[in-house]
Symmetry: D3
Subunit: 243 residues, 6 copies
């Protein structure tokens, strides 16, 4: 791997500055504003005392996620849509699966946690930011249930975090990068999202060759890079966990 | 008028603390986070180089507004709607009319300003906050056009601000209040929104008897109270205006 | 105020000829065809033995209104819409609020009155005509319930009527007018709808500066003019009330 | 065929009283209120200076129809629908085909006639009434084009009329009836709509066994009865035709 | 009637080769692939243990049909529609009525049979093919209920079949044809669908003059031709009936 | 890895019998019925002489895919949906990306290939079958363009194929399997779809922990198994390629 300076001065394996602002809004059981660089997402976790129809009477809970962008989260304004588009569908299903994987749903009772991820500024990596922030919002919502004695055992069994990795071409060399911003993402040859838990076990992996196929070797290099970065994010998430 | 202390300790004629955070998001030509107490609205003004069909070739611009709430802006989560509901329609039409009234549209050229008002926390008075913040976002978007020499003359001819006034019943007396929060608003006998310019000329007035009719005399008392408050808001808006 | 002859020869304070044709259709519990000049609206009040979800078990009734235009009610044909547009939403919510204000809903039992206002010819003032005709249709529907002993006490406590007033410019003078027809309405500087009861208490007031702000003094002149006209309409509505 | 007195006293081969009120609304190029007994339909024919996409540049016109019911046209109120239901689709396609059959579309130029059939009271036979009234509305719209010299030759080549016939069971006998009202229609064994021109040539025939199959012989008896009735309706339509 | 050879070499009274492939898919209670020449329709009959709302508690069953085309069933690809179009509505209502006519619904219990007719290749006559194939799929679904002792008596009382007949113009003569393919259908002067049972009693008849009116005499000729053809189809359907 | 016999007698690394029936329907430029065991999908590739808006004037083509199931493709009938659901959105976007990856779009000219994947029987692995069959349908559509000299150079640069792999638990052991049928898929701990080209370069990889996280080691075992199977499918696809 050769020398390569990214537009914003980061090294290939460097995350953008990221942070979680907690209690961002007043009413949600868990509310977090997460940012990775210029990407900013409001993650609100709401608890409802009912479950989807297919779970009624099954004595377990559920978690679902919704993902949306404010019209002017992006450089060019997007119209509000009367129905959710394919890309958003894909993303919110991914967020939901990832967050459910860290829960023992039977400990939640017949309750549903809805994690609303509303992007107020988009500069690449919104789905990964939503998973990281959504996990923390879910954690706070669950704490709220525990403190009010609505549930007695903590259903959260794992921390999950997500990061994007990809391959870009620079002066005819292929370079692997982590945490791509919008300008990098739109030129990437390959784009991969990796979601793992605190033991670096895989929750979900989605890799797409956008302009050029990639090899098993490159897949492994991207996974190595993702693992390092996920450990840093999870370290930060751990700071919010009560003893 | 007799003595009356409001839940949050305000006097009957006292506004909640209010503020405008400017440059709230990065991409919109004008971006303001406005709050009146716990009510918080992101107002993003976007400029587009096209006008609605009915204005094509008429050599003038347009301004339109869209209003929406995040699902968990409220105490109880609201579902995302596939189509805009009647209340939101009414509100965004009001915001649009109010902001258009302060513009000389012919000085804007064939351009449209879209003001997105997204409520992230709702505690009463969201439409009035949207108009106050939306005016400032529009002002910044217009400054942006002037600075880039896209237009040469300032189309903004007036400042507009909006405030709610209402009548509540307290120990069998009817009491007039300004800037009602959610708990006051939901029990009000009468609810009125007053939109005026810096000369206290009327842009729009909408008064509704929710539970009891009101008299011409009460109408005038409410207007007097609104006028005092609007002057305070306009004073703050003026601080952002360049010399 | 100076001399001014309107297109159709009316004085500034003169209503168009108006009338209520009762029992206009056969099935509705109350059915009225109302006209103000060329504006014609079918107002059908239907009684249903159920209330909206939010009122179930609350031991009270409800009234709601729906407003629509036949495609060729207007000079140019409008397409049938798959969803209700913003203007119609606003209007039907106004009609509903106005008609509810005259009812003691607890005397209605768990019943809903739906007032359908279908405009068959539109020449300005359709929302005001709908409120006047809708009140009478509601009155007949309630009489029907009383005659059949379905309810024992009359829930109608007030008469409501509505009228438009506005300001037009004529030879550089501003002139206040009542009951604007379409040609007057589309050129008005200000447009205001005033809904009052038989004691001239205010039910709702909605005034909009369309092209020019208006003053508190003009507001009062418009209200004075509306009051005179509303008394004439209410006098006619009273003729239909049984002793 | 044995003796049989219908609920409303008609003979089996007797039409309900029917009439056409012309110039019913002010703006449509042709406007007719048609009634057959208690069935009342407003038929408005509008002329537009454009044709559907598939006809652009083909140097011919088009006619289309839309059919709808006011919510309280029926004994029980129907909700307004966000999309047109199957029954209405079927009916408006039938009305459109029937009215197109009497036109030489090439004489209309690149224009479209839209015939809106809005049922204000429904007591059986609404589609047949719509065709009869819609033909007359179309005739007036075409006269309007001729009088204004927009077209030079009359594109209307035929008169069309429609009537329902059916088979009901009465004291174990099957009885053929014409112009069924709602109570007869809902109990009919067979329901058939016959649309013919002034020479008794067939435009469309739709017969459905609702509860019992019918024979070729019964088909012929129903057609004979329809022919007599259609001649009476066409005689009335002819009264409106200018020399 | 004079000599006339059709494009595909058929005589005027000759059906296209037709066949029923049974057990076409694995899961449906009755599954048939029917073809008439190049027209191919998958007819799947599904049994559900519930009835539409209007039949709940009435101790009888129901049958309904849905009709759709694959996007590339036709020469030019059609877009998938978000709502069913008018033509498909008309067709599926016809299929449903025709198949219901052969059932004693009270013997079905509170069950619904849904017959899905999905056209995979369209070359004219898809609605008639759907009725013929749909009947057979319904028959198999009912056999399945009988074999599993879910019902004890066979609710199928009749066989129904459907065929198209029409009038085309050929060298200035009008020629009656049966089983029109797409090229014949799109040029037909008249198009008629005839649905009959095994006794040649009429279930439904729909005849439309597309370009020219037709006479009672032609109607009778078309019905004679339809009868011959329907007997051939019903003979084939009978081969699948168990003794 | 220990001994394990699958329900249908397959070994853990054994594909279900699979086949491609070509020219399945008559009108599509490329038409293939693909089956993997009981999973059956009609893949029709249609060529249109226009591209999506975002590509107009860019001198290149496009490929998009649509995925749908017949209502009774499954054991329980699914209702036809008025809008595409999230799962189908995800699948058709995956099919589209995978098939685009094998094309040089600039050699296609301003044309779009639409690949309709309609599942007529679903028993697991429908998205992978759609990609395999869709590739072949695309190949035939491109051959058709070459044979008609509409394009001069073959834009297909690679073969792509797809297969599912997963982890199931059997007697407390975790077992990796290839080509899961529905019963295996619904109990899998992990489900992964692997799409590769003929050189075993990765097009897309999507792995999801459904009930239990998985390790990097298991990821590699699944990829090894997928590679073997994809080579077998690609071998079969090659049989259809002209010399």
């Amino acid at each position: 791997m050769y020398m390569f300076i990214r537009n914003d001065g980061r090294n290939f394996d460097q995350l953008r500055p990221f942070a979680f602002a907690t209690n961002f809004t007043k009413f949600a059981e868990g509310s977090v504003l997460v940012n990775f660089g210029n990407t900013k997402v409001i993650c609100n976790a709401s608890v409802e005392n009912k479950v989807p129809d297919f779970l009624i009477g099954k004595n377990q809970g559920w978690l679902t996620a919704e993902y949306s962008m404010l019209p002017r989260a992006t450089q060019k304004r997007n119209e509000r849509k009367s129905k959710i588009d394919g890309r958003s569908q894909e993303i919110q299903r991914l967020i939901g699966r990832s967050l459910r994987s860290c829960l023992d749903l039977s400990l939640l009772g017949e309750r549903q946690i809805i994690v609303d991820c509303d992007v107020i500024q988009a500069d690449g990596g919104t789905r990964c930011a939503s998973i990281c922030g959504g996990w923390l919002a879910t954690y706070f919502a669950v704490q709220n249930l525990l403190e009010k004695n609505i549930i007695s055992q903590n259903p959260i069994k794992n921390i999950v975090a997500a990061i994007s990795v990809g391959i870009v071409e620079y002066e005819k060399n292929q370079q692997i990068l982590v945490d791509l911003d919008y300008s990098e993402d739109s030129n990437a040859l390959t784009d991969m999202n990796v979601i793992m838990n605190q033991n670096l076990e895989i929750v979900e992996i989605q890799g797409t060759a956008e302009h050029q196929f990639f090899s098993r070797q490159q897949l492994n290099q991207m996974l190595d890079l993702a693992e390092q970065s996920l450990l840093k994010i999870i370290e930060k998430q751990k700071e919010y966990i009560k003893n």
